[in-house]
Structure formats: C-alpha cells, structure tokens
Symmetry: C2
Subunit: 128 residues, 2 copies
Amino acid sequence: MSDFKDFIGSDKGPQCPRTYILALTDTLNVVSGKWKLPIIAALLRGVSRFKDLLDSTEKITPRMLSKELKELEMNSIVERKVYNQTPVLIEYRLTKSGKDIANVIDSMIDWGLVHRTQVIKKLPESLS
Amino acid sequence: MSDFKDFIGSDKGPQCPRTYILALTDTLNVVSGKWKLPIIAALLRGVSRFKDLLDSTEKITPRMLSKELKELEMNSIVERKVYNQTPVLIEYRLTKSGKDIANVIDSMIDWGLVHRTQVIKKLPESLS
DNA sequence: ATGTTCAGTATACAAAAATATACTGATATT
DNA sequence: AATATCAGTATATTTTTGTATACTGAACAT
C-alpha cells in the first residue's frame, strides 16, 4: 500500500517517486470533469450503447458523450466493440481497470461521509 | 465500507443514496483542479506559511494560492490561524479531514499503478 | 419516397478555471 | 528616508471545459 504522506517530497527527505505522480495524474484524469463518473456509473450498471448512455446520463449532449467516451477509450477505461449487424451495434464496456475504479470511488465516498460528520460535530448547536 | 457498484442507481434497483453523491462531490471538490493536491502535499509535510507555500508550490501565483486556501478553509480542510506578533504570523494547518484525505490519494495512486501495469501488459511486444 | 433509428459530427458560443503583471499596507531594518 | 518582508489584493487576459443547436449517413420499415 502506497503511503502518500511518506512520499510527497520535501527539500530534505524522500521525494515522491515520479511513478506515483503519474499514477495519481492518471486517476485524476478519470475522475475529474463533469461527465466521466456519471458515464462510468452507467457503464457499471450495464448500459452499453451510445443511445442508452445518452438517455441514462441526464442532460449530456451527444458531443460531450462522444468526446468523453473517446478519452475513456484512449485511457483504456472503456473498450469500444463494433458488431457488424444491421443496424450496426456498438457497445462500450468497462475494462478491468474501468471496473476497478469503483474502489477509488468507494474511498472517496468514505472520506466524504466521515468528513461531513466531522464538520457537523464542530458546528455550533444553533446551526445544526 | 460503501460499495459504489451496488448504489450507482438504475431504473430498476437501488438508487445511489443522495448522501453518497454529496460525499463524493465533497471529495471531488478537494482533489480536483490544478493546485489543491500540491498545496495539501506541502501542508502535509509541514509547510504552513503563505510565503513558504508560494515557494514550495512551483509556479503558483499568490492569487491562486490565496483563492485555493480560502476554498480549502471554507471546506474545513485547512485552518487559518493568525498570531498577532509583529510581523504578523499566519499559519495554515490541515484539519483532521485534511490529513485523512491522504487515504484517498493513496487509493488513487494504487489504482493508477495497477492500471499502468495492466495497460502495459496488453501492449504489443514491439511497443513495450 | 418518407420517415425512423443508430451512432455519431460540425459550428458557434458561453462559462469556468487558470495566468500574467502589477500593486497595497503594515511593520521592521539599515 | 529608502528598502525589505509578509500576506495578500486588483485588473485584465488567456486557456480549458462545457453547452446549444443543427446536421450527416447508413440501413431498414411503411
């Protein structure tokens, strides 16, 4: 298990390995932005076609969906499969990494839940 | 432990509880953007003054540092303490939640490291 | 032949995030 | 009196990210 606290780097002491920074940046690219997580959520529950992703991701435009799916595909989070049926069927599926990102999301939710209880605990009675 | 996969919501089935979405959004607000994590990293290794944060966070401008610190303070990630010495001393310190975010970062690094090995594994010999 | 579905693309625009550059005001130092 | 440090603020601009609206082209279906 990596320990960020030991590796964030300082003038004297161990520097954060470059591989850690790259790994962290990769992850940020997958969870940042307005649409990546909603799309991944839909894919996790089995939605796989462009049209269905459009419908189940509220208010996203086809332009954004297309752009985000391309980025996710380039980053090996999503695989695009073309079935040469008629009409053509195109399926987007999460890769192993794509499914695994759920662990990161879980840890984000966990932090957020604890954080909220800690913030509320410190609130003056009158406000809570 | 929360399990995002069970709660992302679908038309038929359990919906993702609103509190989970709020918790996730809180976390994203802390890790997203260009400067929050570099600043938190500096705070984690004990840097606490505006000037020192400016120097140890490469290329950030005072405007951005000021803005980010205000946001982190509003979100109870950072506490600002004013010591009425002369010259005035102002210290920024991580709260409990602020320190705990290191766990999320660890899980992000872990995912990123595994992801990279998985991507390389699938690369054709000629490229790796 | 007209309309419908699927899987997008094209063009223009608006909003949000980040940068560049200069400045302030209080106190202390030389 | 001039200079330096600390902790920022002010104004303008650029870059990045996201939105709006309309359109395309292939293959059926009526």
